[in-house]
Symmetry: C2
Subunit: 294 residues, 2 copies
C-alpha cells in the first residue's frame, strides 16, 4: 500500500491566515514517503524545504488515514500521513490562499460572522427536521454544540466537527447530492478540506499553551500586530488590554528600543520573542482573552 506525506503549510500575512496550495487551490502539497530518512518528520521537513524553498518552523504530525480509493482511476488505496508546518511568507508568492476561503464560517472576526453561522444553522435545521424525531434531536444537539447556538458559545477548536457536520448534512460540495446547494466556501479535492480543518483545529488549540504563534511573526512586532495574528488564527476578536496583560505577564516578549515606523496613533513599541521560553513550561492561561461576542 503506497504511503504519502501531506503538508499543511501555514503562514499569516497581513493579518490573514494563509495555507499553501497547488492546482488552483484545490490540493495540498504532498509527496511520496521516501525510505532513508531518519524519521518521517525530518523526511517531510527536507522534502518541503526542497520543494518550496521555505524554512519550516514548528512541524507536527496531524493524522494518518487511508484515503478513499478513487475507483474510477483504478487507484490503489493509500495511507496518508498529514503534517502541520508553520512558516512565513512574503507578498507575491504563489499558491497561498486565505484559509477562510475554504471555511468562511470559521472567521468570527468578520462583521458578518454570526450572521453567516445563523444562515448555516438554518440549513442544518432543515437537515435535522428531515430525520425521525429521536435522531433529529441528536442532530439538533450536535448543531447547537458545534456552532455555539443557544447561548453555548463559539468554540474555535471545533473546526473539524463543524466541517464533518456539514459534510454529513450534504451541505458541502464534497458530499452534496446532485443539484444540492452547498454552503459558501471553496472546496478541495479528496480529503483536502478535512485535513485543512484538522490543521486549523490543531493550531488553534496549540497557540493556547505553546508559544508557536511566534513562528508566524517577524522578528520584531508590536503587541497589536501579535494580537491581530492570534485573532487571525483563532478567528475571534480579543480584548486588547487583557491580551497585553497575558503576553507581558508571562515574559513571552521583551521590549526593543525601537517603535513601529508606520503608525497612525501613538507609536507602538516593538517587541521581540524571548526564544529562551521555547523549551519552558506551558504558557499559562489556556484561555485566550476573548472579547464578549456582543
Amino acid at each position: 500500500m503506497p504511503t504519502k506525506l501531506i503538508a499543511v503549510l501555514i503562514a499569516v500575512s497581513e493579518d490573514r491566515p494563509m495555507v499553501l496550495t497547488l492546482e488552483g487551490g484545490r490540493v495540498l502539497p504532498s509527496g511520496p514517503l521516501e525510505a532513508g530518512h531518519r524519521s518521517l518528520q525530518t523526511g517531510l521537513r527536507l522534502w518541503v524545504e526542497r520543494q518550496t524553498g521555505h524554512a519550516l518552523g514548528h512541524v507536527e504530525q496531524l493524522y494518518t488515514f487511508a484515503d478513499a480509493p478513487d475507483n474510477d482511476a483504478g487507484d490503489e488505496r493509500s495511507v496518508l500521513i498529514s503534517y502541520l508546518a508553520l512558516t512565513r511568507i512574503h507578498r507575491g508568492e504563489h499558491g497561498w490562499r486565505n484559509w477562510y476561503d475554504y471555511f468562511p464560517w470559521e472567521d468570527q472576526t468578520a462583521p458578518d460572522g454570526r450572521a453567516l453561522v445563523a444562515r448555516i444553522a438554518a440549513r442544518l435545521e432543515d437537515w435535522a427536521r428531515a430525520a425521525p424525531p429521536a435522531l433529529g434531536a441528536v442532530r439538533r444537539q450536535r448543531i447547537a454544540l458545534t456552532f455555539g447556538l443557544e447561548g453555548l458559545g463559539w468554540d474555535d477548536e471545533l473546526v473539524l466537527q463543524r466541517y464533518e457536520l456539514l459534510w454529513e448534512a450534504g451541505l458541502v460540495p464534497e458530499s452534496a447530492p446532485p443539484g444540492g446547494a452547498a454552503v459558501r466556501g471553496q472546496d478541495m479535492a479528496g480529503d483536502g478540506r478535512r485535513i485543512l480543518a484538522t490543521a486549523m483545529a490543531r493550531l488553534r488549540a496549540k497557540i493556547r499553551y505553546r508559544p508557536v504563534i511566534f513562528e508566524l511573526m517577524p522578528d520584531s512586532f508590536t503587541l497589536l500586530h501579535l494580537q491581530r495574528t492570534v485573532e487571525a488564527v483563532a478567528g475571534q476578536a480579543m480584548h486588547k488590554q487583557n491580551f497585553r496583560r497575558l503576553i507581558t505577564q508571562q515574559d513571552l516578549v521583551e521590549e526593543t528600543a525601537e517603535v513601529a515606523p508606520d503608525t497612525r496613533g501613538r507609536p507602538a513599541r516593538l517587541f521581540r520573542f524571548r526564544r529562551e521560553v521555547i523549551g519552558a513550561r506551558r504558557i499559562a492561561g489556556s484561555k485566550l482573552p476573548l472579547t464578549r461576542p456582543v
Copy 2:
C-alpha cells in the same frame, strides 16, 4: 512499505493503570493493516475486539512513525500507526501489566516517588557533566524542566520527554552502551516503550478536558474510587475535597440511591457517570486538584 497497526490498550484495575502486552510484557499487540475497512480506526477496533474479546471504549490515534529497520533480520522498514484504546478488565486476565513497571519514575503517588526522581536526576547530571559546558547547560535545563527539579514542579504530561531524555543519556536498556547500567524499569522490544509513553502522555492530557476517565470506571463508583483512578493515571495525589468539588460542580456524575457495600469508615454514596455530557463542551478546570507535593 508494509503498514502495521499498534494498539495500546489501557485499563485501570484495583487502582493500578494496566496495559495489555504480549510475549512476557515485551511487545504491544499489533496487526497488519487490512484493506477493506471503512477507516483505520474502525479497522483497529474490529481487529482488537476480535483478537482480545474486549469491547473498546474511547479509541484515538496516537502517532505514526517509521520503525527502525531491523537489519539483522533483513526486515523491510515499515510504517506503524499507533492507537490508544480504553477498556475495562477483570481480575485474572493475562498479559496486563502495570504501566509503572515500565516507567517507575512516572508514579509520583508512590512513597519513594521523589526519591527515585532524585536518583535519576543524579545519573542525568553525570550525562550533562560529560558534555562540553555549553551543551551541558542545555542538558541541565532540559533535565530540570522535564523532571521538575529546582522548584519547577512535576508535569505529569511529559512522559515521552522524560523517556527520550533517558534514552539520549543511554540510561535505558534500549540505548544503553554495552555494560552501561540502566535506570530501573522494564524495557520493551523496539519502540514499544516510546509508544507506551506517548499513550500515557496523551491519556494524562485528555482526562483534563474530556470525561474519558469514565471509560475506565465501572457503572457505579464512589468519588474516592474515581479519585484513585484519576490518581493512578496521572501518577499524582490529589486533594480529596477539591477533587469532589471539581467533579460535582460540573455535573459529571449523578447520585444513585445506593452506597458502597464494603467500606471501612462512613459509607460512601455510589455515583454514576452522566452519559449525556459526553458530547458536551469540554470539562472545565484544566487543572487537576493536586495536593502540594510536600
